[in-house]
């Protein structure tokens, strides 16, 4: 990965013979950061939890596209027992081919008799898809705008600052809901915005302000530095300076911001689902929690608990990992 202090042993050839034994090889920003990160047990555990969730989401996605039938846990729509079956309590169930067997569902069943556990696993795909697309959209807007504002300054900067201040003046939840409610069931450029499409579009279009501000600040600071001056002296164009010199050097800021923002997107999905603006026909953690509102009065607590635990584990892992990543890559960035 690119870094500002990329050095290798080959640079030492100009030094006096024998001197290279005393000079340790240089490490890039990323190599150094990852080395520090590896020493932190908690951060590594969190990293593997996040990887597990991402893998699960990818697997569910592939299984859906390729229409796989096995393994059993991807069949979230299958009716496996009577409705509202308690977790870990054995029950008798006659399958479609007439066989009667004793089963137990270790996270219970929902009102239609579908497995809560499988639905919670599928929810990972929904939530991570939403968060991923929302992140991509907000990066695609925020990073170029921030870079342009910080690099060119002048009227462009004023214009972008005006956009940023306007958007951040509106309370975030109001803004998000306004976008979600307007975009829902609209057809834009032939694309019908149904279910989660309108959700991640609304999140992405409203949440780029933070990263834009960060990138702008970094660009203002870094465009005066020596390596940019050197690049300009050798005749690099503005595009080249921005894309191959400045952006790689702020890349870690984007990654850190992303890891912490992911959590917000997952929590926002829950709130939008609860408001009836989320996914409608496939399981999502938000929809599960929303359904639990009516179910708790009947003492059905497992659907709610399954979704809460799923969100809690992923958020905790992402939060702790994001914090550790920030401390390792850029300790100055601490802006709680």
């Amino acid at each position: 990965m690119p870094g500002p202090t990329r050095e290798s042993n080959s640079n030492n050839s100009s030094l006096q013979p024998g001197a290279e034994e005393h000079i340790p090889p240089g490490r890039s920003l990323w190599a150094d950061g990852i080395r520090r990160l590896r020493k932190q047990r908690l951060a590594m555990v969190c990293f593997w939890i996040v990887v597990f969730y991402l893998g699960l989401a990818a697997f569910e996605w592939i299984a859906e596209v390729r229409k796989w039938e096995s393994p059993a846990f991807i069949r979230w729509n299958e009716i496996v027992g009577p409705s509202y079956q308690k977790p870990m309590v054995p029950y008798e169930w006659t399958t479609a081919d007439g066989k009667t067997e004793i089963r137990r569902e270790w996270m219970g069943t929902d009102f239609m008799g579908r497995s809560t556990f499988r639905r919670a696993l599928y929810g990972a795909k929904t939530s991570i898809t939403v968060a991923l697309f929302a992140s991509l959209i907000s990066l695609a807007i925020g990073v170029p705008l921030g870079a342009a504002a910080g690099y060119f300054r002048g009227w462009l900067d004023e214009l972008i600052i005006w956009l940023i201040s306007t958007l951040s003046t509106i309370p975030y939840l109001l803004l998000l809901m306004a976008f979600a409610v307007v975009l829902r069931d609209k057809t834009v450029f032939g694309l019908e915005l149904r279910g989660i499409t309108s959700v991640y579009l609304a999140m992405g279009l409203t949440s780029w302000v933070g990263i834009c501000r960060l990138i702008r600040g970094e660009f203002i600071k870094r465009k005066e530095s020596e390596y940019v001056l050197a690049a300009r002296a050798t005749g690099c164009s503005n595009t080249r300076i921005i894309f191959s010199h400045l952006l790689p050097n702020v890349f870690h800021i984007i990654i850190i911001d992303l890891s912490l923002r992911f959590v917000h997107f997952i929590h926002a999905e829950v709130i939008l689902s609860f408001l009836g603006l989320g996914e409608t026909d496939k399981p999502s953690w938000g929809a599960m929690i929303d359904a639990a509102r009516a179910e708790l009065a009947r003492d059905v607590w497992w659907e709610m608990t399954a979704a809460t635990i799923a969100i809690f584990l992923l958020s905790l892992a992402l939060n702790l990992f994001g914090d550790a990543l920030r401390d390792c890559l850029d300790p100055k960035l601490r802006v709680d």
């Binding site: 309370p171 408001l275 709610m304 809460t308 969100i311």
Partner: protein
């Protein structure tokens, strides 16, 4: 000072215009004509035309003296937002919701503030120890639980199972009994993030030179914390407090919904459920304006307290 205030005031104009442009684009250009939805599925053409006329959807979007664009600005700047889809005046609806919202959010906000600042000072006593690490991890854990789970579990356990509080808000009961549980849940849900925020502020302050001097001259930790650090940490704390005041008026969307509190959060949820763009539009504008005003006040207070700012 006057020059600074005038310049700062002028700077808010483009922002207010920006908010209006954005809401116009969102609700009138993208959202567009919702008369079909207002009239219902089986309405005849005549009813729809009537509704189109009543809400002004038949006017041109831009180039006219009587366009929707001009209407949008006129409505907002005169605070005359017209009627909601249920024919009630929007300003009446909003004014009615402010009281219940504030009676929920003010105690919640003060409780969170006092609790998290005192806990942050306590954590600063044991900074660097395993207790400090445990406190941070607990904060992050608290932040990782969805807000809805706090509310649903809280209501289920304390009101429904244990019967310690009424399940829903009851206007005839005293505010104390009917709002106690939502306030407590709100404090519990917000504590993690706030404690972490104030802990960072206090620890940042602890790194200053004057703290080292205070320790060097032999002051005890509690003296340093309460006499020196707290006083200096008050500046960022007060800023964040002042800037959160507009959000108090906004109420709590989810808490109000679950406990049936007739505040602005409930109003917002009803507006979303019935896709009432008029209410959402009015709320967005009013709250942006409130935030603009409070940001302005903070800046002016800063300039008044710190003469260097005016020169920028």
């Amino acid at each position: 000072m006057t020059v600074y205030i005038i310049r700062r005031l002028l700077y808010t104009v483009p922002i207010v215009v920006g908010v209006l442009l954005l809401t116009f684009f969102l609700f009138s250009v993208v959202g567009g004509d919702i008369s079909q939805q207002i009239a219902g599925k089986n309405a005849d053409a005549e009813t729809i035309a009537e509704i189109r006329h009543e809400y002004g959807f038949d006017k041109p979007l831009f180039w006219s003296l009587d366009s929707q664009f001009i209407d949008h600005f006129r409505k907002a700047l005169t605070f005359n937002f017209g009627r909601a889809l249920d024919r009630e005046k929007i300003s009446d609806k909003i004014l009615r919701g402010v009281g219940p919202s504030l009676s929920l959010t003010v105690p919640m906000f003060l409780g969170t503030l006092v609790l998290s600042i005192s806990l942050a000072l306590m954590v600063a006593f044991v900074r660097g120890s395993w207790l400090d690490v445990a406190a941070v991890v607990l904060c992050v854990a608290g932040m990782s639980i969805p807000y809805l789970s706090f509310i649903i579990y809280g209501q289920y356990i304390f009101a429904y199972k244990l019967g310690m509080f009424p399940i829903m808000y009851m206007p005839e009961e005293s505010l104390l009994t009917s709002l106690a549980l939502p306030v407590l849940i709100g404090i519990a849900a917000g504590l993690g993030g706030n404690l972490r925020f104030y802990r960072t502020i206090v620890l940042d302050e602890m790194r200053s030179d004057y703290v080292r001097t205070a320790f060097a001259k032999g002051l005890s930790t509690s003296k340093v914390l309460f006499k020196h650090v707290l006083k200096n940490a008050l500046i960022p704390i007060i800023t964040s407090v002042v800037l959160s005041i507009p959000y108090l008026f906004l109420g709590s969307l989810l808490l109000e919904r679950f406990f049936g509190i007739p505040g602005l959060g409930s109003l917002m949820i009803e507006a979303i459920a019935s896709r009432d763009f008029f209410i959402i539009n009015a709320m967005t504008f009013i709250f942006s304006l409130l935030i603009v005003v409070f940001t302005l006040l903070t800046d002016i207070c800063y300039a008044w307290a710190d003469p260097r700012i005016k020169l920028e």
